[in-house]
């Protein structure tokens, strides 16, 4: 494919002999939004962590453009700057203000001009409706606000791919929406995104492609409409069934 941005070939990852991902293959086009779903422990989060070079892998290749992502290589810090990641637990720096959290990596890691980074941070905060919180500390924010700041923090690095690891899993229901809206907006702007989520309606709305993982393997993948309405495999049917409650009455 001509504009493949991220390519994963024959990736195998195991922890102490437990195989988490088996001969995993995936290619992601520029601008594509991929949602990864599956039961817990299926390897979804591990996959994202491998893409960010946070996990050593046992075999296979992960390539961003033509550069190999290897957690042990010397250039890994350069590659990580091109991959943005947002975590379930926000992971903001508690002793830094919102603005300091956002500009830390752009100014220190990318050595950008502080004024310029601040200007961009303020603009992005404005977009997610948090411009009045720039001097607040994380403890003064709600979960949804923290997560939106975390997204802005990742965006300010101008990543080529954004990874979202169950970013709404720890949030109250009303806050889930504000975070998902931020992500929908990103998708609309053409960002390349890999999203691990349990929000099925959101997955349907945001994705170009859905990947259903189980036991470290892709069991089924396809366009969201097809996948959610007519899942082919029994395993996927069973999984999707757990999100429905109509049959209970």
């Amino acid at each position: 494919m001509a504009n493949t941005l991220l390519k994963i070939e024959h990736l195998t990852k195991s922890y102490d002999g437990n195989v988490i991902l088996k001969d995993f293959n995936l290619s992601v086009r520029k601008g594509e939004v991929i949602v990864i779903i599956g039961p817990s422990g299926c390897g979804k989060s591990t996959l994202l962590r491998c893409i960010n070079g946070l996990e050593p892998i046992q075999s296979g290749v992960i390539k961003l453009d033509d550069e190999i992502i290897d957690s042990k290589s010397k250039t890994i810090t350069k590659l990580r700057q091109r991959v943005g990641m947002v975590f379930q637990s926000y992971d903001l720096f508690p002793h830094k203000t919102v603005l300091q959290n956002i500009i830390l990596a752009p100014t220190l890691v990318q050595k950008r001009d502080k004024k310029e980074a601040v200007a961009e941070a303020e603009q992005l905060l404005d977009k997610v409706g948090l411009s009045d919180k720039k001097d607040s500390y994380p403890r003064q924010l709600s979960g949804g606000q923290k997560q939106r700041v975390a997204i802005v923090r990742a965006l300010c690095m101008h990543p080529e791919v954004m990874l979202f690891d169950e970013v709404t899993a720890a949030l109250d229901p009303e806050m889930v929406r504000e975070v998902l809206d931020t992500m929908l907006e990103l998708a609309r702007q053409g960002s390349t995104m890999l999203i691990v989520t349990h929000e099925m309606e959101f997955a349907k709305a945001v994705s170009d492609r859905v990947i259903f993982l189980d036991n470290g393997e892709i069991v089924e993948e396809g366009a969201p409409h097809t996948f959610f309405n007519h899942p082919k495999t029994e395993r996927a049917q069973k999984f999707l069934h757990t999100f429905e409650f109509e049959h209970i009455k």
Partner: protein, 234 residues
Amino acid sequence: MGDLFSQEVLQETWDIVINDMPLALWETFYVTVLATLFAVIIGLPLGVLLVVGEKDGILPLPKPFMGFLNVLINVLRSVPFLILMILVFPLTRLIVGTIVGTTASIVPLVIAAFPFVARLVESSLREINPNIIEAAQSMGASPFRIITKVMIPESVPSLISNVTIAVTTVLGYTAMSGIIGGGGLGKIAINYGYYRYKYLVMLIAVVILVLLVQLFQSVGTRLAKSTDKRLKSK
């Protein structure tokens, strides 16, 4: 005991307090501060290495090096200060030129305190949520940047609390160094109280030491609180 507060004793004590105490207080103060400062200068990087150099740390270091570092710290921490002071005489002479006097007592104090500081720093850094270190890694920060811009700044309140513990411990040690000719309140307490049975002078020296500990502790506690951004009500 009847003589403890006699007119004569009070007069004599007063003279000693006026003549010797200010200098002793100053000596204790500057030895404590300097020794702690040097101990932090050596102990802070070592404490950082103890954490980041682990197998799954952000900057894994060779196992033999880590083993050596741990043993060195444990050995130095196991030697009683009184004996350590005597053991390091050659080093003290090498650095200061003499083994007696107030300045000379800084050397054993630093040797005794830096391993302690390293352990305290280690425990401070271990309190950091590992997820935020991972977040910094995910942004492409180098280990050095993570140490200087995330790990240390994020553990400032805890570091201050722990350095305060180190200061009070060093203060206790300075009193002991009076035995080998180190100056300060310890020397006063030992010379007048122990050798010349002037208990009142010793008592006053001890009270001043207690007040100093109180002072250092309350300043440290206040600083630690004011730098903690995680606390509510501000």
